[in-house]
Amino acid sequence: MDADPRFTLSTGLLMTKFSDLFKGSCLAVLLASAVPVWAQDSNSIIFVQPVEPQGLDPTVSSPVAAGQVTWQNVFEGLVAIDRDGRVVPQLAKSWTISDDGLTYSFDLRDDVEFQNGVHFDATTAKFTLDRILSEASTNGQKANYTAISDVKAVGVTTLVLTLSDRNADLLYWLGYPAAVMVEPSTVDSNGTDPVGTGPFKVTEWRKGDRVLMSAWDGYWGDAPAIASLTARFINDPQAQAAALKAGQVDIAGNLNAPELFDQFTDDPAYTAVVGAGEMEVIAGMNNARPPFDDQRVRQALMMAVDRPSLVAAVSSGYGTAIGSHFSPASPFYQDLTEEFSYNPEKAKALLAEAGYPNGFSFDFKVPNRSYAQRSAEILQAFFAQIGVTANIQSSDFPAAWIQDVFKDTNYDMTIIGHSEPLDIGIYARDPYYFNYDSSDFRAKMDKVATATSEAEREAGYRQAQEVLAQDLPALFLFSYPKLGVWKAGIEGVWENGPVPANDMTDVHWVK
């Protein structure tokens, strides 16, 4: 083989190109380090959203993440839920409820336009609600609206709902992201190009990275203080904290990692607030499967767990031990942590009474998410103290977990965070993954639904919590706080999280 002149030539070319490239990248390094990558603009806000929504329309499929970007910012409802968890008027100025609780009539605003110029009226509102209730509906929260049997538009500004049963929670759910008002001609494109009645309009969605929004000048209410709003998707808590430190983002409404929170609490450049969050971490059990069908076994397992230590280890002490399904963020929260608090000796005795003097072993199906795996490891150690062996099996989350645990209920015990507000009713559902069947609990939930006064409704919720604290269909562990961090100089961010959302409509920079 001899040297091929053509080959030599082309290689020479190759070499120069490579060296040029290398020079180029060195230059880029210098440039990148000289010019700050982050520029601050007092007219704009960038907030962190951990999970990228699958579509931007909160009324179809993925309810939570879509709402976290667009609820209130882009889309609005008949009513809204404010930062204290209360229902307040929005596109409906006021409403009346008949004495039997079966007829709701809303008086709608007549000065509202959608971002495409179409006027909002009772017909659009009827369309929105009918769409949620329709056969072909893909609204994940449909169950919360099925009490509505008829929707009528009376004139231009009156909407009348007829209910088949009393439902004291309906108003709340009408304020939830899943029931925001949509314009009929845009329903097919709202997922990628949402059109709402809110103060911000989506201008661009860079998939995998961010959604850009800008103030819309046709908004019916007060114009927002900022001109541009951006949601950045950063899943990894470390990256969230780093992006905050680097100034790339302005607000993290809920920093997912408590262990990273401390660095902001004593830094004057940031405001760091521990607010009440809605997520309850619970270890659900298959109540239909022995030995978990025995209430005494469930109580014994609860007494085996030192919840304050668990909070210390899993979330650096940020978080609150809970004794039932509501978190302290709920207006109806009842502290029941004294029931079945940590007492391994009593737990062992109770276990023996239930017929397991030597304990037992079971499969613990744990989502492959950090908080769940860490909690599971600690629970495993606590259970071991009373002779119970938990065999941890990682479950691919969400896909395999939903299939295996949630749908097929092929599990003994699992662990998961429930983040929807007012969701205690899941224990009355049949089927649901706990396979929990209690007529006592259902009676309490009926009481809530048919409550004729707010006090009655609250009493029902409190009693429901008490039933669960005794029955323990799941081990109630702790609730995650909402760890908010934002740059000093920003005001108006929600401190508590009664609804999973990033309502940025009041956010502004203080000069």
């Binding site: 083989m1 040297a3 091929d4 080959f7 030599t8 290689t11 020479g12 190759l14 070499m15 490579f18 490239l21 290398f22 990248s25 880029a28 390094v29 990148a32 380090s33 990558v37 699958q54 579509g55 499929s61 993925s62 309810p63 939570v64 072909a136 509906s137 893909t138 609204n139 994940g140 929260q141 449909k142 169950a143 919360n144 099925t146 990628t192 860079r206 998939k207 995998g208 990275d209 961010r210 950045r232 950063i234 470390q238 990256a239 780093a242 992006a243 430190k245 680097a246 691919d396 989350f397 969400p398 896909a399 395999a400 939903i402 299939q403 295996d404 949630f406 749908k407 929807e420 969701d423």
Partner: protein, 317 residues
């Protein structure tokens, strides 16, 4: 004529392999537990809502017709619609390629820029300090996991020195420097194992060529050692290096999945990973098929190059 026939047969084999791969991918993904509709709707959904969504996504069709409709679409360039993002898969992949392509190109360029000189210098003085240093670099580079290098780079250059952003991608719209700046650390992490492999290959190839007759002849004709090296030896040693670049593509892609994960980059590797965990089956199918196609084409390309340029290989056939 025979060459054309060989080319045709090669194309046919590649197409057949691709077809087989598409079936494997489809069946594998379909058999995995998890229902996309269920994941999209969350845990509060009712059975009728689920059924409605499944119908809308076409998930209620039989297995084989879903496969055929996907494959039929791919043939005419329609890759389907992402379940979760609700946009065309082709567009989605195109979006993500604007991150992954520059990332992998930068990593490869960096790897070549480091390994070529290093390998040549090591080969020029076997057994000496330079050679030992190159060997050490190669051994360590192959052994360290690239996601760990990524973490160390973040600790050093982002958290402590604050030279580069710790992750994320601002988009090319945010300006060339900002976008490039966020790809520098990831490309270094991705380049290191590549550079290590290429250093070894370059060194071995250069040594092999040095011992060939034509280089000895050139030296005998009075060419200096240095000139002989760069004029004759290196160009002819590049063949195995290029081949190795081709063979490394699957590892480059694998590395990108991990590195994009560490640096939170919206690239195609993280798209594949996220789509899989969300069971956005149509996206996973297409992305994996794309990867397989890239690997096959590159392999076929390097094979062809090899066959053309290396007469020994032609003789054996």
């Amino acid at each position: 004529m025979t060459r054309l026939l060989t080319l045709f047969r090669g194309l046919l084999v590649t197409a057949a392999v691709l077809l087989a791969a598409s079936l494997v991918i489809f069946l594998l993904i379909d058999a995995a537990p998890g229902d996309p509709a269920e994941i999209m709707l969350g845990t509060s959904a009712q059975a009728d809502t689920l059924a409605a969504l499944r119908h809308e996504l076409g998930l209620d069709l039989p297995l084989f017709s879903r496969y055929l409709s996907w494959l039929g679409g791919v043939f005419v360039g329609d890759f389907g619609q992402s379940y979760t993002y609700g946009v065309a898969v082709g567009e989605l992949i195109g979006d993500r390629l604007t991150v992954t392509l520059p990332l992998t190109v930068m990593a490869t360029a960096l790897a070549v820029a480091v390994s070529l000189p290093l390998g040549v210098v090591a080969a020029a003085r076997p057994g000496r300090a330079e050679d030992n240093l190159a060997s050490l670099f190669a051994q360590i580079g192959i052994a360290v996991p690239n996601f760990w290098i990524g973490l160390l780079l973040i600790v050093t250059f982002s958290l402590n020195l604050k030279w580069f952003p710790p992750g994320g991608f601002p988009g090319w719209e945010a300006g060339f420097n900002a976008a490039l700046g966020s790809l520098i650390l990831p490309s270094i992490a991705l380049a290191l194992p590549q550079a290590a492999v290429l250093t070894r290959v370059t060194r071995a190839a250069v040594i092999e060529v040095t011992n060939e007759d034509f280089v000895r002849t050139a030296r005998a004709k009075g060419l200096t050692k240095r000139r002989a090296l760069w004029r004759h030896t290196v160009p002819n040693a590049l063949l195995p290096v290029v081949t190795m670049l081709g063979l490394q593509i699957p590892f480059l892609i694998s590395g990108a999945v991990l590195v994009e994960n560490v640096f939170n980059l919206p690239g195609i590797g993280s798209l594949a990973y996220q789509a899989l965990s969300q069971r956005d089956l149509i996206v996973v199918q297409n992305v994996v098929l794309l990867f397989v196609a890239i690997v096959l084409v590159v392999n076929a390309g390097t094979d062809a190059l090899y066959a053309r340029l290396d007469p020994r290989l032609r003789a054996r056939k």
